[in-house]
Point group: D2
Chain length 351, copies 4
């Protein structure tokens, strides 16, 4: 029924880095048109001044204020606002009857206690938390159609969840060590002393040894106790891209063929997930460079040959599948249009 | 009349880096379908083994031999073969009545003497040289429809030509110093000692101080004497991207407004060329990072305030507008379909 | 007479990036010992917290305040403070009878009018400006012994001056186009939006098209009119290193052999300057990577074969020969100890 | 007794990357002088052509042949030759009564069976294998004086051994997962398809998931069964530097204070090893950038708070402490001169 209809889209926080990625996707999306690019701080400025790579796509668009956005009709909204402050905007948009895909962390964790523990304070809007669907279609596709709030995913969480999902659903995981390597775009568009190029360039900076926040999402989504998970985060030279190396201690010994069966069972039908071939060796475990700019996920795996343990490596583009891409993918499902619409751009390689 | 027809495409040299870029474009092109990916050395190997970022796009395709290609019907062919050896293949394909876009340097220079001087030997197929159209639609759009051979452009040449074009056509150029900064993908997919990562990484390597080969194309296309041009080529850290800084000594003094008029006159209607704004200052001169993965060209300029001299800076993606992108753009014109078809992917930024 | 004596050194602004480089040199300098590492903002903090690469060298040192420094006897002081505010500190130290090497821009320009024009305001201490010697020993070696103020050099200026010096002294320069490529450490230790890694990484950012400030130093030191010089500054991926490509239009035609004679005449005896060989070609023009971490300067050159014009390329480490290295080299001369003392570390390559 | 004597040094394989690093150290070593830089392939070529960063240090030196080396008296030799072929040269030099530090893998493993298993063939010279001392002074200082063969260390092995050593000696290790991140210089000076810049740049390439060869050295040196160790090797963007993240499962629970006690016990007196402070957090785990160009090792650690497990992170420069630096350090001990002679250069940071 929605076959030819176009949907108007409001983007809040359109001046940030994820905002830019949403604009890149949506200006190329055949069913979406931008109703307003909202930015409280950049009102009146041309979009092209902040996102100069999109000048040709929106030569005349300027940022509008949240107030102006209030008077702008829209079919769906994306909010890419700071953690904590996003939920008020979400609530407000919701009251206007517009479904929201929120890319902050505000609606990711369902348990208020868990939220408080990881985000250091009470949830700002517990009243609407229940409504939110975690926006990873690979896990929640059936709950998305018609949802009023979709929570965007944590990029490291998304990659980790996809690494562990088949094992977790099969009750196989005893313990998992998640080694996450993240590019600098994960930190967004705002500079800080740690992102200063002379210090950040070529860094191998262990930002968090055991318990990165996104671990909480992994635990929730896979129903795995937090104590059976660690997540070490290393900031690496790349700008884009997340690579997760999951060392998984299993409850039982699996052979190579068992792994293939397991992964195929869960991902064979997934439009954005590819399994890496066992050969040639240099392509067995995926490099995030192979998915740059796309919504794709690559997964490679192997048993250790040392008891009930295996290695799963996942690569995705943190701004795409790890954020704006999954958000649009979810929005497509919410609106009842084909899930891959506007998301079929190929990776750019080599860059 | 071609409004809905699909065209079948043969890609020779599909195992190389430009071949990979052609595949990326063409697998996303709504009017092209791949008839065969030809590679003499990789016959029978899956495409995804060589171009792992395209596994999802061609999961089952394998490379075919030039012999097999001979029996494969096609509407158009792209040849991305080594300089010198390409022309024989081009001639052969032509005999089958298939128009060819050749991405080697074989058909770029029209003057046999000039070819010999710059490429160090007689032209292998002078008999078909005249037929070729230089595949930069911004200069040769009208000659392209129905052409039987289109010559791909040199990436450094393309950027340089676009920098000087409005001045050259207006007879304004006394002398131009072209300072070209090129990424490592310019050298293609084959490793050599100079491309070894420990030595090539973060290089500022002056490969050629005055007379890079592509200067010959600039001279030809703009009818400027070679002695009024120098081209210095520096290999920089980037993988993708060319930036040309053209210091132009003019026959007459131009003001800022004159430059704007001149550039608008030549490029206002060009679908892939954008002029950078005068403000803010940091966006005035384009960085190739702003066009990564796209067919776009950015041009920024300024007068020196010191006599009849100006600076023009051009940025493009060497594998796209500097090679495969312009090739497909030209092919679209040759076949009579809208020029931008399949080439509207936005730049990916930041990467 | 100074053959075995040790000199005590005060370093002001020791918490910055140039401060760190001074510490690296001075903690390895056989004749210097640190009397105090001064930082108004970091008083009491361990040096190793700010310069973690030097933990082993000064495990117990903490930053002292400018007030504490006032009571600390010293033989010489280095001031690495912000432009404009440095001169007051310099004046104060001078009053205590301690010679100062100032690494800010405050004492570089001798002409008050020129200073005002380039730094946008009147000079804060014109009374002591005359005393300062420009700290490039290659030009001012004879004026340095016993100097009370030595001005540090601008890194881009130092490289440019060394490129043009032999020509300028011989009255050969008609016009010079200086194309400077600079790493991110040129901006010091403080983060800003432009140095944010996702945007700064792999940049080819033209920061200044014609008239970078350091041009004023070049003009002054070589007695060349500013109108005959342009300086274009491009920020490149590197952290360390400056490369200057000087396109020089000469008053008379010079042959290759003339260039060699000229450069040998000026630099054969210089302890830190090396001329690049004409062969092999890939080593003819120097890459700043070849001097990383050292006080060395590499110079390569060639005639164009197109009239009276040549290309000179200079590479140096901006934090060393372009700043802290030249400062210590000058200090050595001021104090009458061998000029190369503490500065003989080899470049680290490849990095 | 050796207090003022100088030692003459032969360097075999002086044209390679480790050869270059040996030359960098030795040309700055106050007690060593180069008797000959040997390279079978580069005989007669100037050293500066292959190691252009050392032109100033050896302007007139040319490579000599192995035959010429035979007639060159020397006090010690370093051999940096390909694995497998090194041992014949070592044997020959030994017969001349010259002690050898061999930087290949030929003399690292003591057990012939283990050698065969990991290097795929019988050991070429089992007759002299017993003589060799593993050249990591932190473990073998007492066996080095007067040794006739010293085996250089594997860079990943050295970092891993230093991470595990205090635990292993205390019998605490149940299992260790070594996550090694290595720069491109680990592969030496010869180009290959995998080191081609467009593909290697910014890679996160998992070269080996579980069992990198260097694991065998770790097992041997620490008397840990191979089955209790895995070593995953990821090739990262850096040129220099190794970072090992060792996740250690312990036989008993250790508190933070226990770790400090353990590490201080083993490393407090080590001249090249520093422990990272617990605060500030961003310096707790070391980045290899902090040791670039130096012989230093940084170690940081933490307990997980999740049972008997801890994380130890080691950073070193693979060409220095991981190769040429440890080799010279060992040679100093062999010859009875102070262990740190010639190795006190500070790290260059930031680069």
């Amino acid at each position: 029924m929605n076959s030819e209809r176009s949907f108007s889209v409001l983007i809040y926080g359109a001046g940030g880095m994820v905002g830019g990625e949403l604009l890149r996707i949506i200006t190329g999306h055949p069913r979406f048109k931008i109703a307003g690019a909202v930015s409280a701080r950049k009102v009146g400025k041309p979009l092209a001044m902040i996102h100069p790579h999109l000048r040709h796509a929106c030569p005349d668009t300027v940022f509008i204020s949240p107030e102006a956005a209030r008077d702008t009709p829209a079919d769906i909204a994306f909010t890419s606002l700071p953690h904590g402050s996003a939920s008020e905007s979400v609530a407000e948009i919701l009251l206007r009857g517009i479904p929201v895909v929120d890319l902050s962390a505000d609606f990711r964790l369902k348990d208020l206690g868990r939220y408080e523990r990881w985000y250091g304070g009470p949830h700002p809007r517990p009243d609407i938390l229940d409504v939110a669907v975690y926006g990873l279609p690979e896990l929640h596709r059936k709950e998305l159609p018609g949802a009023s709030i979709v929570s965007g995913v944590g990029c490291n969480a998304a990659a980790s969840i996809l690494a562990l999902y088949p094992f977790a659903r099969s009750g196989l995981i005893k313990e998992a060590l998640l080694d996450v390597r993240a590019g600098s775009s994960e930190g967004g568009s705002k500079a800080n002393q740690g992102s200063h190029h002379p210090y950040r360039s070529r860094a191998l900076r262990i930002v968090e040894p055991f318990s990165h926040r996104h671990l909480a999402e992994v635990s929730q989504e896979l129903s795995l106790p937090e104590e059976n998970l660690t997540m070490r985060l290393t900031a690496v030279e790349n700008v884009r891209g997340v690579q997760v190396c999951a060392e998984i201690f299993l409850h039982e010994h699996l052979r190579e063929a068992d792994l293939w069966k397991l992964f195929r069972e869960y991902y064979a039908e997934e439009p954005f997930v590819d399994l890496c071939p066992a050969r040639p060796m240099h392509l067995r475990f995926p490099d995030p460079r192979l998915v740059t700019g796309s919504n794709r996920v690559l997964i490679g795996f192997s048993t250790t040959g040392k008891g009930a343990r295996c290695l799963v490596v996942v690569a995705l583009d943190n701004l795409m599948k790890g954020s704006a891409g999954s958000a649009v993918q979810s929005a497509n499902v919410v609106l009842g249009i084909p899930e891959t619409t506007g998301l079929l751009m190929h990776p750019v390689y080599p860059v």
